[in-house]
């Protein structure tokens, strides 16, 4: 058995989701339910069943029959779209939640970083939080003491060690949190998207630290949407698609397959039922579409404008909404971010200042032609309570599309255009002297 760090066989995880009809019940149903359900629930409680209103619920398989093997010292990237089961897999392997079926065997001490700063207490000082957070992540007190200076130096917050962290800037907070986590020394490290925090310089530092961890011969399972860091850190990749393994292999092959799978798409992703769509009881996504003059498409002409349409159910009456999108290219570089803020729109979106009733809405954004460079792009959709940073809907890479170079900008130069954007600019030469 030596040489194997993680062995997983037929791992499945079923989640219960609320009943579809729930939001459309009549008052009479609601009232009769209110009287009847406490008794049903108490009955269940006495029998020790853990499932709430189980028989009314629908279930989904977040992970279905996943088998894989990771050798000691391997750095494996886990790739997949939103809801493909990446986080669920890490949660099971770190024992946060139990699988519904299947079996996994882990050889070595596991450290998991599903989120940085878990267990930080705002009232405690930086120093105190290092000890608390370290203990939560499974470090011994002696171990924390030994690494204390190193952690403080890495986080660059020497001066604020005795300030309660609630007075920290968000950057300082994240730096401290990552610094503690980065100094965990387990044999197996499970990391979920934590590098997506902090400023660029600190992200670079984190990537460097992760690289060191990998070089020390420890096993790392790494979930990320950032193809750039995956490409740099990992040797092997696993592609998850709707809870199942679609492909395993060299990281470059797996990334290409992941990007390719977007190319086949019809330019539309949609959910029929609000229960499975991204979001919560306040807003649910219904569909995201890329629409050119020929309708929904996965390929747009580099010189022509197209629309990104976002359809969503607003389930909370009298609310305010802000819809925004991020576009990433295949290198993981964020090409642009925009939202329906009046100052970021050519003509202000009237719904920005209105209160939303319940109902189905469509917000669309027009991307002009001759702006994006050619290649694959991923759309990330955010829907927030206006001005709040609560991300009611956060659908990462929910849909991808390819910008096709049709040759309109390739008459004189036919090589690869570098850069994230390729706008047509005003070029002018004047002769200044002879």
């Amino acid at each position: 058995m030596s040489g194997i760090a993680i062995q997983v066989e037929g791992l499945s995880k079923q989640y219960r989701i609320g009943s579809k009809q729930e939001s459309y019940k009549t008052l009479r149903d609601t009232l009769s339910d209110a009287f009847a359900s406490p008794f049903r629930r108490v009955g269940k409680l006495i029998r020790g069943q853990a499932t709430g209103a189980a028989e009314l619920d629908e279930t989904i398989w977040a992970l279905k029959d996943v088998s894989l093997e990771v050798k000691r010292g391997e750095v494996v990237g886990i790739i997949g779209r939103n809801g493909a089961g990446k986080t669920t897999l890490l949660k099971i392997l770190s024992r946060v939640t139990e699988p519904t079926e299947g079996y996994a065997e882990i050889h070595g001490r596991v450290g998991s970083l599903l989120e940085v700063g878990t267990g930080f207490h705002p009232e405690l000082t930086g120093r105190e939080n290092i000890y608390l957070n370290g203990a939560i992540l499974g470090m011994k007190k002696a171990e924390i003491e030994r690494k204390f200076d190193e952690i403080v130096a890495f986080a660059e917050i020497e001066k604020f060690m005795d300030t309660p962290v609630k007075h920290y800037s968000s950057g300082m907070y994240v730096r401290l949190a990552f610094a503690v986590a980065a100094h965990l020394e387990p044999e197996i490290l499970l990391v979920d998207e934590v590098l997506a925090v902090g400023d660029a310089a600190f992200q670079k530092k984190c990537l460097g630290k992760m690289g060191d961890v990998a070089k020390e011969g420890r096993t790392v399972l790494f979930v990320s949407h950032n193809m750039f860091s995956l490409q740099n850190l990992c040797t092997r990749g696993i592609l998850l698609e709707s809870g199942q393994i679609a492909m395993q292999g060299g990281i470059t092959d797996v990334i290409n397959r992941y990007l390719d799978s977007g190319r086949e798409q019809s330019g539309e992703v949609s959910w029929d039922s609000p229960d499975v769509a991204p979001g919560n009881e306040r807003v649910r996504l219904k569909a995201v579409r890329v629409v050119s003059e020929d309708g929904a498409t996965g390929e747009v002409d580099i010189s022509k404008e197209f629309r990104i349409e976002i359809d969503y159910w607003n389930l909370e009456p009298d609310s305010r909404r802000l819809v925004s999108v991020h576009l990433h290219n295949s290198m993981g570089i964020c090409v642009l971010t925009s939202g329906n803020l009046p100052s970021a729109s050519l003509t202000p979106d009237p719904w920005y200042s209105r209160r939303y009733p319940r109902g189905l809405f469509r917000t669309s954004c027009t991307i002009p032609g001759c702006l994006l460079n050619d290649g694959l792009h991923g759309i990330t959709v955010y829907i927030n309570e206006k001005t709040a940073y609560d991300n009611i809907v956060l659908a990462r890479d929910v849909l991808s599309f390819t910008v096709q170079d049709t040759g309109v900008m390739r008459k004189e130069y036919t090589g690869k255009w570098l850069g994230a954007v390729r706008p047509r600019l005003d070029w002018h030469t004047t002769q200044l002297s002879s």
């Binding site: 629930r41 853990a50 949660k91 946060v96 405690l124 939560i136 499974g138 007190k141």
Partner: protein, 291 residues
């Protein structure tokens, strides 16, 4: 070689260079073992969580730790006025204020411990969803952190004994065990309620009601000597009766030794703790998904 078990399966495996911990992950079914050994390996986390609760408890309050004293002292004043002075409820021949305060000190410890532990899992939802550790650590640490408040209120009790010129009996050596009995009771009920609270937030409304009811079901405002045997011993089925009568007996030297009551109370508290711990473990597997 250390072995970290899950679902009751422990496998030890030695690799070529160094011993590695092997963890087996699979779905668990039915009642599962308490796995106290694992809780023990996480004792440092228990210490840090308790320490956090103590440190944070009176942050951003004006009166700070004085709250630990205000609560039982003011209840004592109200009780002395209404039950002692107006209703003239007997107090085993001891001045009524100290008679009720000696009971209110362990009672406040119990009531706060019960309240804190019932809400502990829901309050730590973020932690539970993101990091693995034995979940038992959470309610246990929240009950233990209440001992600091207990010590403060107890100092006031000593001051009152000095004032009334009451010398504690030799039985005072039993006091730590009586405190342990209160702790076990609070934890036993707290385990039941905290695990239920994850799924049914009704618990949040049950706890204040339960504590209020329990306060009057415990001989705090009145002596249990009002009851005749066998009812007096049966009153011990409420474990707090044993604690309260024990405190008075050990500190104030009330006439009758509450031996039978304390035995009944201890058995009851132990039953609560063991059943609570098993129920907690049974529900534990769904905590991260439901909370």
């Amino acid at each position: 070689m250390r072995v970290s078990p899950l679902s009751g399966d422990n496998v030890a495996c030695t690799s070529d260079s160094m011993p590695l911990i092997v963890t087996i992950i699979k779905p668990s079914r039915g009642w599962i073992s308490l796995d106290l050994r694992e809780v023990w390996t996480y004792r440092e986390l228990l210490y840090f969580l308790t320490w956090r609760d103590v440190k944070v408890r009176y942050k951003q309050t004006v009166l700070g730790a004085a709250w630990a004293i205000i609560q039982p002292v003011f209840t004592m004043v109200v009780f002395s006025l209404f039950f002692g002075h107006l209703a003239r409820i007997p107090s085993d021949g001891i001045p009524y204020p100290i008679f009720s305060y000696a009971a209110l000190v362990p009672w406040t410890f119990f009531a706060n411990g019960l309240g804190q532990s019932s809400n502990s899992l829901v309050g730590s939802a973020n932690l539970i969803k993101k990091v693995y550790f034995p979940r038992l650590v959470v309610p246990v640490s929240s009950v233990i952190s209440g001992t600091v408040d207990f010590v403060l209120a107890f100092i006031v009790l000593l001051g009152m004994m000095l004032f009334y010129g009451i010398v504690p009996t030799l039985n005072v050596i039993w006091l730590p065990l009586l405190l342990l009995l209160a702790l076990v009771t609070a934890l036993g009920v707290g385990l039941w309620l905290s695990a239920m609270n994850v799924q049914f937030r009704d618990v949040r409304y049950v706890v204040p009601f339960l504590t209020q009811f329990w306060l009057f079901a415990t001989p705090i405002a009145y002596p249990s000597s009002l009851l005749s045997e066998p009812w007096r011993t049966l009153h011990g089925l409420n474990p707090m009766t044993g604690v309260v009568e024990g405190f008075r007996w050990a500190l104030l030297g009330t006439e009758t030794a509450p031996g039978p009551i304390i035995i009944v109370s201890s058995l009851m508290a132990l039953a609560l703790l063991v059943s609570g711990a098993f129920y907690f473990r049974r529900m534990e597997r769904t905590f991260a998904d439901v909370v």
